[in-house]
């Protein structure tokens, strides 16, 4: 066992500084956002397809889809610009 006291863990000050050469932080963030929004779009499309295809659920389909889109777009807006619209009171700005 080492007799030295444990040193406190020091997190890297800027993780983006570890990116490979020629790969800027802006590009990395852009691609992360593209990927997340692409997954969101596919998932949302599949779920909406199910809501609309099975008509026994139709009375709630449109409100459910609208609620999902409203909340999602508010969160996307918050992610990209800091403006969260109706979610603003609940999110740190």
């Amino acid at each position: 066992m080492p007799d030295q006291p444990l040193q406190p863990f020091a997190p890297p000050e800027n993780l983006l500084a570890y990116l490979p050469n020629g790969f800027s932080a802006g590009v990395a963030i852009t691609w992360v956002l593209y990927t997340v929004f692409a997954f969101w779009a596919i998932y949302t499309f599949v779920a909406i397809y199910h809501w609309l295809k099975y008509s026994h659920a139709s009375w709630l389909a449109l409100p459910a889809i609208a609620a999902h889109l409203f909340v999602s777009f508010a969160l996307m807006s918050y992610t990209l610009s800091g403006k969260a619209f109706f979610l603003a009171p609940y999110l740190p700005v």
């Binding site: 997190p11 963030i29 956002l33 997340v36 969101w40 779920a47 909340v71 996307m76």
Partner: protein, 178 residues
Amino acid sequence: MKEFELEPGEHVVKELRKHWFLFLGELLPYTIFAILPFAIPKLIVLAPPLVPYATFFDYQELSERIVLGIWLLATWTMAWGSFTRYFLNAWVLTNRRIATIKQRRFFYREVSSLLLPRVQDVTTNVSGIVQSMLGIGDIKVQSAGAEIVFTMRGIPRPEQMRDIILKYVAEGSAHTHE
């Protein structure tokens, strides 16, 4: 109904889903995920060596806000997907048959029907304190010869549903014997 065509003279008597309380239970993990980014800075204060890291959770930097936004978007989308699957799972009782619609996941849908004249036994089961207080239980519908057993778990007021099923089974038998 797109799942099955209603025959002439057939009508939907009741459509049933899992009890809302059980759905709230399914939402619990997503609620915890949503609260977590806001709870961490408050909890971190309780552990003095970790206090310096609390600045990661004030979400004032662009990168922190992006991480929070993505986290909340993913949590919301998963919770909404859970609601979608909850709503697309249903039991439909018509005056001629019982149909179960099972949406196990997206693109995996199972629809089965049991004609009421073939129903031989309907059993309800309510067990547990919360289930008894809220009237949540299971129904097992068995066909003649026990070839088919339909079970729906966690439905509201199973006794009422059993009585409705038996009423329509009896009506069907009366029409058959006339």
